[in-house]
Symmetry: C2
């Protein structure tokens, strides 16, 4: 069973596709489906494609108005994209992502697999919220994968990896990884601190924040590290306030 994994569908257009996704989830043992701002969500249209075996997955579907809200409880967020320009370096193959996910699941972390709308996929706005991006290799770039077939491939790779237990290093229990919501708070705190200390220009901090975001996504901070970084930022900003009060 793929515990701790949720399939997050961002603005899916066709309830039938959500039904097909539910069937794929059932077969691969993924028990959680999250819909973000779905278009024309209709359980009755989704059910025939899900078969009655997967009905409970559709009955328990979670719905959020925005992707940012939907992602809050997750420690690791994997976005899927067919767009390889620009991002090429940091794109994972499904089997690579599955290996990482397998280790993260074993630690009890919550993982979101995000899939975009059928016609357009995820835009930069959504992929910016994802900690990692993966792509399913295809021959044709003219057309895209069917939504449920894409979900099936990613879940199948995760399922296969779940059947061979990842190597676990013995040792004392580690602190959990930070959740998506905490990550966003940390980003905001870092951004404001770096502006305060005049490292970032206040008119366009996002450009410089991008490399810091990518770095943090790669290192996956744990809770104790998060607390240390937040404390460090608070201390820096306190010093800056004092320094600027003295006319610096």
């Amino acid at each position: 069973m793929l515990e701790h994994i949720a399939v997050v569908l961002f603005r899916p257009k066709y309830p039938e596709n959500i039904g097909s996704v539910a069937r794929a989830c059932l077969n691969m043992g993924c028990g959680r489906i999250v819909l973000v701002d779905p278009w024309n969500w209709d359980l009755d249209k989704a059910l025939p494609l899900a078969t009655h075996h997967a009905r409970h997955l559709l009955d328990n579907v979670e719905i959020y108005p925005t992707l940012a809200e939907a992602l809050r409880p997750f420690s690791f967020v994997y976005g899927t994209t067919a767009r390889t320009g620009g991002w090429r370096k940091s794109l994972l193959l499904p089997e690579e992502a599955a290996s990482a996910i397998s280790a993260q699941r074993t630690e009890g972390e919550e993982i979101a697999l995000v899939f975009g709308p059928e016609d357009k996929g995820l835009t930069n706005e959504e992929t910016d919220l994802c900690h990692h991006l993966l792509t399913i290799p295809t021959t044709e770039n003219l057309t895209s994968l069917n939504l449920s077939q894409a979900v099936m491939v990613v879940l199948y790779e995760c399922f296969r990896k779940s059947q061979t237990k990842p190597f676990k290093v013995a040792g004392y229990p580690k602190e959990r990884y930070i959740r998506h919501a905490e990550r966003e708070i940390l980003f905001a705190q870092l951004r404001e601190t770096l502006v305060d200390i005049d490292y970032l220009k206040p008119d366009n901090p996002e450009y410089f924040m991008l490399s810091i975001k990518r770095f943090l996504n790669r290192v996956n901070p744990r809770l104790n590290e998060y607390n240390q970084l937040m404390g460090l930022c608070r201390q820096l900003r306190r010093i800056v306030r004092i320094a600027k009060g003295k006319g610096l």
Copy 2:
């Protein structure tokens, strides 16, 4: 591109599923779809699911009345099944089958991937015609995989293997493997020969033939070996005729 691979759908029930299969084939670079005795085949119902990019695959679909006829030109036939009882030992995982298929494709052999009807899958009658069987692991045995999702997983594994070239041993060119039609001729010739020499009982030769069939499926005879075996059988039967004429 997955040249030399055909997706063979045995008695598919829903044209929409055939459309979804065509889309999966297009994305994975598989250019050949064969339908065997399809129920209510309707291009207009299949097209929306295929998207117009995959239209040529549906326009060029091949249709046969029986699986035996459809399989004649193929050197290697892989059947997919969810039934693991009895066959368990000889079932391949998709990634295992994909490794073998990758090597076979590189030699220019024609390969058929056979998928059964949506509701029942392949029965023993059809799996007997397949040289190898593969199964897609799932958690739930209550339900089956969606047809196009199953096709997608198998083609994806083949596609991934096609991106890493198999190791090729240098040496003189080998004879091609025998086609399915030749395999059937060889089985028939062996069966009759073994009955003639009183090795098999004429009332139920199939039971004993099964292990011989499996052996031949494992060794994958090449054309020169086929000719030798056929010649050996002819010679044996000639001797038996002479011996029996002498009252043996």
